[in-house]
């Protein structure tokens, strides 16, 4: 299997994954992960400096894929869902959310390019005032000394660099899992079972749907809801768990979709 890896600008793990899934239409489990890894390492080598953040990101994705793959290969799995399974599902849906987001911005980028291309067919007038208005123009160099000029030259002649080290939090979307968990609990507690589709009918974006899915999983993990799915690809039915009555409040999850700490 061949991998088309861009050579000029590094496209990133999501693009590679998306290409594999979308263009080659392969089952990811039949993709030789080592192929992706090789392509990636080659890409890393070609970069001037090792991009630790990207490398870490890729290893994380590769690890999730390997684990998903290994589970699929196991013939028998315990019928009940374990903590580990849930954690894996969370990772999987996190990954899915990221892929959907990445796909969205790729398409948006292409649309911007189209706008630019169309706009470039109509060029602005930039000729400026005729010579006879020249005397009216103010001295644009007022207040500018040789040292200002030197600084400007240094800025212009150097590659623009911004502070490289940042400790930052990543905000994937406005809706947090924590918020959704609370909203879902209020919606479900003491009410009859609802489908996941109903729970998300007001969602504004797919990311939001995914966040709701994670919220449901979180409630499930805490034993507050039960999830039923009658058939493969069927509707997910979510119901408040009777055994707990309406006593506990849901514990706020880590909210890892909201705060992903990047160390680097």
């Amino acid at each position: 299997m061949s991998y088309e890896v861009r050579t000029d600008v590094f496209d990133g793990p999501f693009d590679v994954l998306l290409r594999l899934i979308n263009e080659q239409r392969v089952d990811l489990y039949e993709v030789r992960l080592s192929g992706i890894v090789d392509a990636y390492l080659a890409e890393m080598d070609s970069l001037e400096h090792l991009d630790l953040e990207a490398a870490t990101e890729f290893l994380l994705i590769a690890a999730i894929l390997v684990e998903l793959k290994s589970r699929r290969l196991l013939p028998e799995l315990p019928s009940e869902v374990s903590e580990d399974d849930l954690a894996l599902l969370e990772e999987r849906d996190y990954l899915l959310a990221r892929l959907v987001e990445c796909t969205t911005f790729s398409a948006a980028g292409r649309a911007l390019s189209e706008l630019e291309r169309a706009a470039a067919r109509s060029l602005p007038r930039v000729a400026g005032p005729d010579d006879r208005f020249e005397d009216l123009c103010v001295d644009l160099l007022a207040g500018i000394g040789p040292e200002h000029l030197r600084q400007a030259a240094l800025r212009a002649l150097s590659e623009r660099t911004e502070p490289a080290v940042e400790v930052d939090h990543v905000l994937v979307d406005e809706v947090t899992v924590a918020e959704v968990v609370e909203r879902l609990a209020a919606q479900l507690r003491g009410h009859s079972p609802v489908t996941f589709r109903q729970l998300t009918e007001n969602a504004l974006s797919r990311i939001e749907v995914v966040v709701h899915f994670l919220g449901v999983l979180e409630l499930y993990k805490q034993g507050l809801v039960e999830i039923e799915q009658a058939e493969t690809f069927g509707e997910l039915v979510v119901s408040w768990s009777d055994s707990f009555g309406d006593i506990p409040n849901p514990v706020n999850p880590r909210g890892w979709l909201v705060h992903v700490d990047y160390e680097g």
Partner: protein, 196 residues
Amino acid sequence: MGFDDSSSERTSEAAIEAVLTVATDPVPPRLLAELLELPADRIESICARIAASYEREGRGFRLARVAGGYRLQSHEAYAGYVERFVLDGSPQRLSPAALETLAVVAYKQPVSRAQISAIRGVNADGVLKLLTARGYVEPVGRDAGPGQPVLFGTTSLFLERLGLDSLAGLPPLADFVPPPATVEVLEQALRPEPGV
């Protein structure tokens, strides 16, 4: 031709034309209103009339509303002639990676480098540098959070180059969310076992 216009109306049209002829950037209607001592909504309606007359007469230029102001620009119908005249050629096209980053900044601004990197799954430094050098993107402030990372936003040059009056003119991001079928494909590809 407007021979039924009042002469002051004709004067206002011509004064706006004169100003736009010498302007090098889009002229905000507020500034035109000050110069002509007319309310801003009158300026808007006069400009709409000028624009319509150019279109009706099949002129080689048009009056466009971009980046919050008015400017004269060549009519796209004659792009062939203009392109041959402007020998510099069009600026180098942006790579898919740069476009994707530009889209993230456009729709998520103000946004930090780390946020961009997280969405794209790859370090965004190089691409951000390119977009900044092109003048499409600029630092617009600092986040209040730890490390006070620089936040990036798009410039008015970005609006000008895309022919947009404001960011509100960007097509809605929702239009680009992949259709359910695509998400289904992604979802199934990541499915550990059928029917979880």
